[in-house]
């Protein structure tokens, strides 16, 4: 007989979400729903009537870990709509900013993941904040990588956490020769640390997934070899940056995209029939509580070719390099493998950057209402912003956010896993739930609407 257990709120990720899990007698998930319970701030709706300069700055505030993704995708969607090409040096600054943010974000996610893992060779779980070694050195290295990423980002973008230097048409300022040198120095240091940290994390991740059993709140839980497996497929639009409707060969196809409401994909009203007070910390939801993912979920369900897909580091590695490791282990390892290129690619961009180059387009049109879209490969995956700008006012704005793509995919990946490891599977997606809760949902006549969007 199936029982229903709910973990609410979920922890060690950005935002508020919950897991509603139908499990069998052995505690294995038959069907799981992972859904956002973050209130919907409605950034798409509030954008209508505002200037294309202000909207990307507001969109940046959708997330404080990957604000760069939203700010850049938003700015570039506006530029795509008004058909404004930006100078190359502005592009390079944006690339540098993107890579710097990714480095800090991977490192931050390391902090969020580590408490699940063991110090290899021991039965001790990792507390990233302990002053004891060997963990303290790792924590310091993580924070140093983050400092390097945030500092480089701050130089290119004018401020941390939300970019200040970006604008429609390019950037407000180029950086000085001195600033370029500083970024070089930091990037070189970051590269060394990125190698060390990636190696450490991959070893820890492998160690964890090779175990037969892991501990969750004092419960001994079997570790399946296929933890987090799904066959929903992958979506990525660039190895590290993105694409836009201004590209000669855009790598995202708006016609393959559809949206559904949670009604199609999530479970309806249920009652919690399994409670586990030992679940760390504070237990799972009390017996008898009513829960209704269809109604409570705060996001829609985006699909590519009619199915949810996975976006993120693994999706990028699969799409561009035929990476082939599945499951939660594969995802987290793929993420660590993105560490080094944050700095390799950044150094290449710095090589090319001319501090005396102009960074604002000569002519910035007011817009004629054409549809433009831009994708940004955020740390968590493909972030597509769609915009229409006419006479310097935004007529339409939509954000298809990485974690929104991943909600239904992760839900599918929950099937077959012990329920106590559901959060472990979820964290493999590096969830950013405040971001995700911003999708506009198109109705059943989505084909028509999609065509209308494209006109």
């Amino acid at each position: 007989m199936s029982k229903v257990v709910e973990i609410s709120p979920t922890t060690r990720h950005e935002g508020h979400s919950k897991l509603v899990l139908k499990v069998n007698d052995a505690g294995i998930i038959e069907k799981g729903n992972w859904c956002s319970i973050t209130p919907v701030r409605g950034v798409e709706k509030l954008a209508v009537g505002k200037t294309p300069e202000q909207v990307p700055k507001i969109a940046s505030r959708v997330c404080g870990i990957c604000p760069i993704a939203h700010n850049l995708a938003g700015t570039e969607a506006m530029e795509a709509s008004i058909k404004c090409e930006i100078p190359n040096d502005a592009k390079l600054l944006r690339h540098i900013l993107q890579l710097a943010n990714r480095a800090h974000s991977i490192a931050l996610h390391n902090i969020l993941l580590l408490p699940d893992y063991y110090i290899p060779g021991t039965e001790t779980k990792i507390n990233p904040f302990t002053p004891e070694e060997p963990v303290r050195s790792v924590a310091k290295r993580i924070q140093r990588i983050r400092e390097i990423g945030q500092t480089i980002g701050q130089i290119a973008a004018g401020d941390c956490i939300h970019p200040r230097n970006t604008r429609v048409g390019g950037m407000y300022r180029n950086v000085s020769e001195q600033a370029k040198t500083k970024m070089y120095d930091l990037a070189k240091e970051g590269l060394t640390l990125a190698h060390q940290q990636a190696e450490f994390m991959i070893a820890v991740i492998r160690n964890y997934h090779n175990r037969d059993f892991v501990d969750v709140g004092g419960m001994k839980v079997p570790m399946p070899k296929t933890l987090g497996y799904h066959n929903q497929g992958y979506l990525a639009t660039h190895a590290f940056y993105g694409s836009s409707s201004l590209d000669e060969c855009p790598s995202w196809d708006i016609r393959r995209f559809k949206e559904a409401r949670p009604y199609d994909w999530y479970m309806g009203e249920m009652e919690v029939t399994l409670e586990e007070p030992k679940y760390p910390i504070g237990g799972t939801t009390k017996l008898g509580t009513k829960t209704n993912p269809q109604m409570e979920a705060c996001t829609g369900i985006p699909m590519y070719d009619g199915q949810p897909v996975e976006v993120g580091p693994r999706a990028r590695l699969v799409t561009y390099k035929n990476y082939d490791e599945k499951g939660t282990a594969g995802q987290n390892i793929a993420r660590q493998m993105e560490y080094q290129d944050c700095f390799y690619e950044m150094i290449d961009c710095l090589d090319e950057l001319n501090p005396n180059g102009k960074v604002v387009a000569d002519y910035i049109p007011d817009g004629d209402g054409s549809l433009g879209w831009a994708s940004n490969e955020a740390p968590r995956g493909t972030d597509v912003h769609i915009a229409r700008v006419k006479d310097w006012k935004v007529q339409y704005y939509s954000m298809l956010v990485p974690t929104t793509w991943n909600f239904a995919t992760c839900s599918a990946a929950l099937t077959g896993a012990p329920w106590q490891l559901a959060e472990v599977i979820m964290r493999g997606y590096d969830p950013c739930v405040s971001c995700a809760t911003h999708m506009i949902v198109v109705d059943e006549e989505n084909r028509l609407v999609a065509q209308k969007l494209i006109q």
Partner: protein, 308 residues
């Protein structure tokens, strides 16, 4: 020393030993020499100063990005800029008696300019802004620890640009373009023309043009600079220098050891600290009255008092 001069470790009358700087400087060339020395020795890697129209034309990317700064920049309007070399310092040297929002570049200095050790010169209120930004860095992330040398200049009051324009072009009957230097001293406002003429206006005439926001300021000698300096108290061509903080002390000592300045004890010069104290007290007394007046400005209605 009463509170009107702020806290200081030492006070001297000083003049730069660099003849080239003396050619361009307002008085003793203290600010230019200090920043020049600090840049040379790596104490700072850039300084925020009030530059001018000529500097902007050559180095637009080093200046503030504002709408009033385009091709038609007026003569003698100061434009905040980041300078990195002695040549740039000289190009920006000299006092401009109107508002230069130097603090507006303080955050950008660590961003697009990539500075780690910032020098900044400013009026007493700007020093207050800098220290508030260090204690309460609400909008100044990762800036406070990078302020390596803040030099304050004495200030009785500042003027909006239009005020100086009218003083020079109406009252002194000169074109701003033809002005080589302006100075306030000995109870007068002096305008020196490029062709050698000198016009002086009684200070009384300048009062109407003062920036009203200055009338609640209780700081004459930039109490919060690492080093503060001004012409008052010292003979012509020399400046009075207060060394105030640990940073100020360290930088001044190094500069002295390197022979950057020649000094005289302030007790030995005329008009000396008495004049500085007198003027400081005049400003503070006058402005305290203004502050008090604000409390009963309307009928049963007060103007706001920013001081907690």
């Amino acid at each position: 020393m009463g509170a009107e001069l702020g806290k200081y470790k030492s006070c001297v009358s000083a003049r730069t030993t660099d003849k080239e700087i003396l050619k361009f400087s307002q008085d003793g060339g203290i600010v230019t020499s200090l920043f020049g020395f600090a840049l040379d020795t790596g104490i700072i890697d850039g300084a925020i100063v009030a530059a001018n129209k000529e500097f902007y034309e050559k180095n637009p990317s080093k200046c503030i990005l504002d709408n009033s700064n385009f091709e038609m920049i007026e003569p003698w309007r100061p434009i905040p800029a980041v300078v990195n070399t002695k040549a740039e310092l000289l190009a920006a040297a000299g006092t401009k008696y109107n508002i230069s929002p130097n603090v507006a570049l303080l955050k950008e200095a660590t961003r697009a300019f990539g500075l780690d050790k910032i020098g900044i010169v400013g009026t007493p209120c700007q020093m207050q802004a800098v220290r508030k930004a260090q204690l309460y860095p609400i909008g100044f992330r990762d800036v406070g620890a990078s302020i390596a040398l803040a030099v304050g200049i004495f200030c009785m009051e500042n003027f909006p640009y239009q005020g100086i324009l009218q003083l020079v072009e109406d009252h002194a009957a000169m074109k701003l373009d033809a002005v080589k230097k302006m100075e306030i001293g000995k109870g007068k406002f002096w305008v020196y023309g490029k062709r050698g003429q000198v016009v002086s206006l009684p200070l009384k005439v300048t009062h109407k043009y003062e920036q009203p926001g200055c009338h609640v300021c209780l700081d004459y000698v930039a109490n919060l600079g690492d080093i503060s300096t001004g012409s008052v108290g010292s003979p012509d061509g020399w400046s009075t220098v207060f060394v105030r903080s640990k940073i100020g002390d360290s930088v001044w000592a190094k500069a002295m050891a390197a022979g950057v300045f020649e000094t005289q004890p302030i007790e030995k010069v005329k008009p000396g600290l008495e004049l500085v104290t007198k003027l400081a007290n005049e400003k503070i007394t006058k402005n305290k009255k203004t502050l008090e007046g604000r409390a009963t400005f309307g009928v049963g209605k007060a103007l706001r008092n920013p001081y907690i």
